[in-house]
């Protein structure tokens, strides 16, 4: 890895009781995808929610440690400004249920200062294109967002995240609620997106990690066990735990 876009240093977090993640040190390169894998409850979702300061919106949540974006600690900055630079796609599609397809994407701009009509139209169009959804929705942009299928809703959420023009895109098991065809579409999309963005994707699905990620990190019981190039993790894991997990012996 030749450069670092983002880095977690000594990151620990909890929901008030025991720690959910402990002392994570992990770097992310620009224009690449990093997968975070591990069994349920290993803290992988908590970890990426710390990377855009969403974790602290939960009751009794605590975070210690640092997260650097371009060398500056995001915990020293205004959280809303941080979240504009670091987009997020959630586990279940969560388009704004009361808004149209168009407004869902345009909402990203509304939270990011004023934009002219032309500018908004252009960014909405580009974002829907980038999320590979434009062709499917161009004739009913002003229909309610919930009229879309689950897979389309998730791509709408990706479009919405892209419209904010982030530098980093966090994806928390973005395909776990989708059928195989929608999953394939979203994976193709991630493959394209990682050329432009720093993509960090939490996934349950090891084949998915193998398909889309350049690097893979394995979490277990709130700790980072191993991180390496994806090929190495799956073919020559250094840790016994990693080997056990990727070979399907537990998880």
């Amino acid at each position: 890895m030749d450069a670092t876009k983002m880095a977690a240093v000594g990151l620990s977090a909890s929901y008030g009781r025991g720690p959910a993640i402990t002392d994570i040190n992990l770097e992310f390169g620009p224009n690449s995808a990093t997968a975070i894998i591990g069994p349920s409850g290993c803290g992988k979702s908590t970890f990426i929610r710390c990377l855009n300061r969403m974790h602290e919106t939960a009751p009794r949540a605590t975070v210690t440690g640092k997260v650097f974006l371009d060398g500056e600690d995001i915990y020293e900055q205004d959280p809303t400004a941080v979240r504009r630079r670091i987009g997020m796609v959630f586990q279940r599609p969560n388009p704004f249920a009361t808004m149209t397809i168009f407004d869902n994407v345009a909402a990203a701009l509304r939270f990011n200062g004023r934009h002219s009509r032309e500018e908004t139209d252009k960014i909405v169009y580009e974002s829907l294109q980038a999320a590979a959804l434009w062709e499917e929705v161009k004739d009913h942009l002003f229909a309610g967002a919930t009229s879309l299928s689950g897979g389309q809703q998730q791509r709408l959420c990706i479009a919405r995240a892209l419209a904010a023009q982030p530098e980093v895109l966090l994806m928390d098991e973005p395909c776990s609620a989708l059928d195989p065809i929608s999953t394939a579409k979203v994976e193709d999309l991630i493959f394209t997106l990682k050329r432009t963005y720093t993509v960090i994707i939490v996934t349950h699905n090891m084949q998915q990690a193998a398909r889309v990620a350049d690097r893979t990190a394995f979490f277990y019981l709130g700790k980072l066990i191993e991180v390496n190039d994806t090929k190495e993790i799956f073919e020559r894991p250094k840790e016994k735990l990693t080997e056990g997990y990727v070979s399907g012996r537990f998880g």
């Binding site: 969560n94 009361t98 904010a164």
Partner: protein
């Protein structure tokens, strides 16, 4: 009605006969329950309808537009009371909804760090407790605390503020529209002798009584908004307020609307507290400082001292009109809720 049930043979038990009797009894009981609810409404309507026949024969539909209530000439118009009912309830709602909504947003949307959940639960309990205070207590408080304060401080303050504001904007208003300016000059809502027992005091007491209802129900509606809706906005860089306004409030809008309508229903029919503070004037109020009556307060104050069968009948018709108004409000509200159903039906009502 008996549908073919593929599991019937699988589920067949020796006590088949007893089960059928149990089913029959069960169905009978719930049918009686459902019928009783409708029956009570029909019975009330029937009694109000027959009881008001003399009044309807004497005054017809014109009773709702007739502003005169005069026992000496046996002329009984209900316009002042309809006016008073709608006016006090409308003002109460305008005052109560923002405060109630504010409290429910405070309790559901504020960052957890700013407000420990134990304190939150305690505050929610206090709001719910307010709803349990008997209305006569609100009335007494209104009479002994609010009315004197209104008389000495609030009412004179409002009048002078209105006049000063009027003088300030009068030239502009006059320049735009002389007609509007003249109208506003002669239609101040704050004219008349200040007595304290007036439409405004009644509205404020009603507002206080309605707040817990609206607050508790809109709080439930806001709490029912899925967290991912809010997180979606926050993750885009929205502030707490932006997330609430763009994602949470729209999602809960039908629940909030339903809460307001329930509050309105409570205000329309409230009797004791209003009777104590509204002054029970029988002329149509032309100012918020006039005393007035509502349909409910009219019934409470006049019924036991009605001077003859006609007045008695008119008071029953007042009850009929009040019932029709509240039914109408509920029907309209339900129709609106159907049209603007919240996504996923959450927070419907």
């Amino acid at each position: 009605m008996r549908l073919a049930n593929p599991f019937r043979t699988l589920l067949r038990r020796p006590s088949q006969g007893r089960r059928r009797w149990g089913d029959l009894a069960f169905r009978g009981i719930v049918t009686i329950g459902a019928g009783a609810v409708v029956g009570v409404l029909v019975a009330i309507l029937w009694i109000l309808w027959t009881g008001s026949s003399q009044s309807r024969a004497a005054f017809g539909l014109g009773i709702v537009t007739n502003p005169t209530w005069d026992i000496t000439t046996n002329v009984f118009g209900l316009l002042p009371m309809i006016d008073g009912t709608l006016l006090t309830s409308a003002i109460a709602l305008v005052l109560a909804v923002p405060i109630a909504l504010g409290s429910s947003i405070f309790l559901t949307q504020l960052a957890p760090k700013a407000l420990p959940s134990a304190l939150k639960a305690a505050l929610a309990q206090v709001v719910d407790l307010l709803a349990a205070i008997p209305s006569i207590v609100y009335g007494f408080w209104g009479l002994f605390v609010l009315v004197p304060y209104m008389r000495t401080t609030v009412d004179p303050g409002l009048r002078s503020a209105y006049d000063r504001l009027g003088n300030l904007v009068a030239p502009t208003v006059h320049a735009v529209s002389p007609g509007a300016s003249a109208w506003a000059g002669t239609h101040s809502p704050f004219t008349g002798t200040i007595i304290g027992e007036d439409v405004l005091s009644a509205s404020i007491v009603l507002a206080i009584m309605v707040i817990p209802t609206v607050a508790a129900i809109s709080r439930d509606a806001l709490a029912a908004v899925p967290i991912p809706q809010r997180e979606a906005a926050l993750a885009l860089g929205a502030t707490n307020w932006e997330a609430t306004r763009r994602a949470v409030l729209p999602y809960a809008r039908s629940g909030i609307f339903g809460a307001s309508i329930l509050g309105l229903g409570r205000a329309l029919g409230e009797t004791m507290a209003v009777t104590l503070v509204i002054g029970n004037g029988l002329a149509p109020p032309t100012s918020l400082f006039n005393s007035g009556s509502t349909l409910a307060s009219l019934i409470a104050t006049q019924f036991s001292e009605s001077t003859g069968p006609l007045e008695y009948s008119v008071i029953i018709e007042a009850g009929l009109i009040l019932l029709l108004i509240t039914l109408g409000v509920n029907i309209v509200a339900r129709a609106i809720l159907w049209r603007f159903q919240s996504p996923g039906g959450a927070g419907g009502d």
